[in-house]
Amino acid sequence: MFRSLVVASALAAIPFVVVPLSAASAAPGHAPLPFGQAVPASQAKRTVTITMKDSLYEPKSVTVKAGEVVRFVIVNKGELLHEFALGRPEDHVEHQKMMATMMDHGMITATAIDREKMKMDHGAGMHSHGPESGSVLVEPGKRAELTWKFAQTATLQFACTIPGHYELGMVGEFRFQ
Amino acid sequence: MSRLVSLAAAALSLALPLSAATMSAARAQSPDHGHAHLIWFVEAEQFELRHSAHGESFAWDVHAWIGTDDWKLLLKSEGALPTGGPLEEAEAQLVYSWRVSDFWDAYAGLRYDHRPAPERGFAAFGMSGMAPWFIEVDATAFVSHKGEISARVEAEYDLYITQNLVLQPLVEVNLSAQNVRERGIGAGISDVELGLRLRYEIEREFAPYVGVSWERKLFRTASYARDEGESSGELALVAGVRFRF
């Protein structure tokens, strides 16, 4: 019930976000991640707009409270495909490897998502990708949403893990109040 | 006296380009990019002691040149000076060469033979360059001031055994259109020289070598030599240094 809500809202409101098929089948119970979990947009009391450019975010940091639910509206004003992924620095390191593989396999290009390939390639261990894991891909000129209930961790960042973008500085910080 | 003349010829061959270079002060002279660079070098292909059954001698084959991509002025000198004996051979050429194709130059000039006596002056016309397989070839036709026609063809190859050790086979053939009895030269192929030198390039400019050189007078030239009581062939061990500056 809860899971299907997430999927439905993602599909309805965020047509350009990739929702792995596995999300529906391979995430029973949908355990919260150490830094929180995706929740329906209706639970959010606050909306934060994140603008993506090539290759940075505006704003560069967002202040949140532990337990708070924030609805993020992510707008890609750049000319490249970008990601908005929540995670600790070590999560981003892992995520970068996966993203590099996705690029090698042609599932994503510099500017777009190849949905066909995305669907086909789900054996490749792309589970940790999608709104339920705190990650959305936004194509140039498009917008997407992600609603997140925060759990406090020592360091929490939002980052784009498309090869090269993280290095160029496409990373922002969550500051816990 | 004759010895002095030939040494002077050899010295001249060194001095001429040097003075030209001193005047120009730099090796590759060019005020801005792309202008004709005037370049000079002195190169000794052979500068060696020869040891054979007939004794020892010092032999040289040295040339100096100055020029550009399109032309060169060359002064060549070669000869042999037996230990303790009179000068056996001494020859100098001054030629102007010009580029005729990617790999070939044509040249024309003068040759003067001081020894063997009697002296001769020649007009020289030739081609030099690189044949396929990296074979360096030099072919010259000569007309003496007495109207005698002769030719010389030389070919050599550098076989790199390692980056520094180089084996160089060489062949030289002399031909004559007529008998020149007074100089001991017979019509047809007059003589052949085969050489094999192994050099070690300490620097590209400085490479000591050892080798063998085999010379053989042929046909009528050989019989002239026998008539004079000379041998018609000689196998020599050689040791010398190839250099360039």
């Binding site: - | 990019h33 190169e43 690189m130």
Partner: protein, 605 residues
Amino acid sequence: MDTILNRRTALKLAAGAAGAAGIYAVYPGRRAFAAASEYNLAVEKGRITVDGISSRAKMMGGSVPAPTLRWREGEEVVIYATNRMDEPTSIHWHGLLLVGVMDGAPGFNGYVAIQPGETYTYRFRLRQSGTYWYHSHSAMQEQMGMYGAIVIAPKNGEKAAADRDYVVVLSDHTREDPRRVFANLKADPGYYNRGKRTLMDFFRDTKRDGLDATLKDRQDWAEMRMDPTDLADVTGYAFLVNGKGPEDNWTALFAPGERVRLRIVNASAMSFFDVRIPGLPMTIMAADGQDVQPVRVDEFRFGVGETYDVMVMPREDRAYTFFAEPIDRSGYARATLAPRAGMAGEIPALRPRTVLTMADMGMAHGGMDHGGMDHSSMGHGAPADAGKADHSTMDHSKMGHDKMDHSKMGHDKMDHSKMGHGGMQQGGMQHAMPASPSKSSTPPDRAVGWGDAGTRPGEKALAYADLRSARKNDDARAPTQEIEVRLNGIMERYMWNINGRPFGHDEAIRVKYGERVRIRYVNTTMMAHPMHLHGMFVELENGQGERMPRKHVTIVPPGQEVSVILTADEPGEWPFHCHLLYHMEAGMMTRFVVGPKEERKAEAK
């Protein structure tokens, strides 16, 4: 660390601050209260010390490399260049868009060399941002140390957030007088080649490839009187990073996790490099000063005159080695990225020196469009048997054949009989194999073909095809004419030219102002030529559509064709040449004349 010269320092120095006099030669009193953005650069003879060995140098601003000029887009700069040598000199601003006479190439655009004792005043407004460089454009001076970097900050701020920003100037330095180098090349073009094919190589190749194949291969080269080991023309170089030798170990500091931007300039006279930082992928963010969409690579091939801006993010608390191998592998340039001064990373072994193939002679592939192919990540997997051309071991599914334009490959033109497959030659065959995820730690023991850097399987080398402009090309018009630029050489004589005519006897290339033209380079030689057009950027036709990268230097690999498109929007008489300095010196240069604006207007009426 980096000799930085920004406006404030310059002013301070001009006002008479003495401490930095050794770095920056200033002649106070001339313009003690200069307006903003005025600089003094003295050109003088001096000495540099590389790994403890001192040699003669010519320098600008008192150092090798010359001080980095840090400017801002939109500002006007004034540079007083004073010649304190006893020969004419010049300073050229490589990659900058400016009025012809400010370009600094003697004999072009009305610019006259700066005579001894004279001061020339350069004045221009900066119409661009990015990493560029400056160097002498007078014969035999640049290679003695007259080169330095220019960093122009974008007027709207940097797009990428770097925690550290370093200039890395690569160069090659020899103690030999450049005139002597040139004379040696003229007298014996193989003078510096210490990688010639030897009898020992013959035995080795015979053992590996068989006698017939080896003989055949030797025959092919011998008949052409060409040497497949000729990669670099000149050796004996020390390879420098910011003027420092490998032992000097120039070091850039970082804190783990920081973003470090390296602005890398190839200011060599003759050396192409393969540049990498083992263990640290680089994100290419700009090429020739122009922003590109980020590409993550493990290494890149670096042509003379090019610049690349890369971002790296060292995470570990250890030293990383910045390693640049010249393609003839005759040494290396090395620097260190380290969390603390005095550290040194592991120095990798030099990878194998490649041997050219018939494909590099243009013999194998008639009109093949290499521009769109990914040579870099060819991943020469089975090294020992590569020569046997055992295609069965190649993973065709990963080769990305779909990216190859077979129609352009001109297979019908391939003369297989001449290719000596036994002895060679996957160099021309293994294209477009994308980086496969399989990691092998065994480096290939042999490299075949000019494009083969010996990249490890699974690692990614930058290909020109990967460069994609960050912004769309301004001019979408189709070119109205194609200009063929044949790059010719006679190696045996060390003669090089464009379209058969050496500079001085050349015929200028003429285009109208505003015209859009295609320049098609045809390299008939067996050396790569980094072709540099002054005054304008060209767009490299590398298959990136409306995002062709903008370049001021274009590498044209041996035996290949590369095309670029130019909007001729800078009137003038621009130098157009190979940036290998001894090739330029030997005549590989011509004039590229863009007609005046008025002419165009008159025509429109």
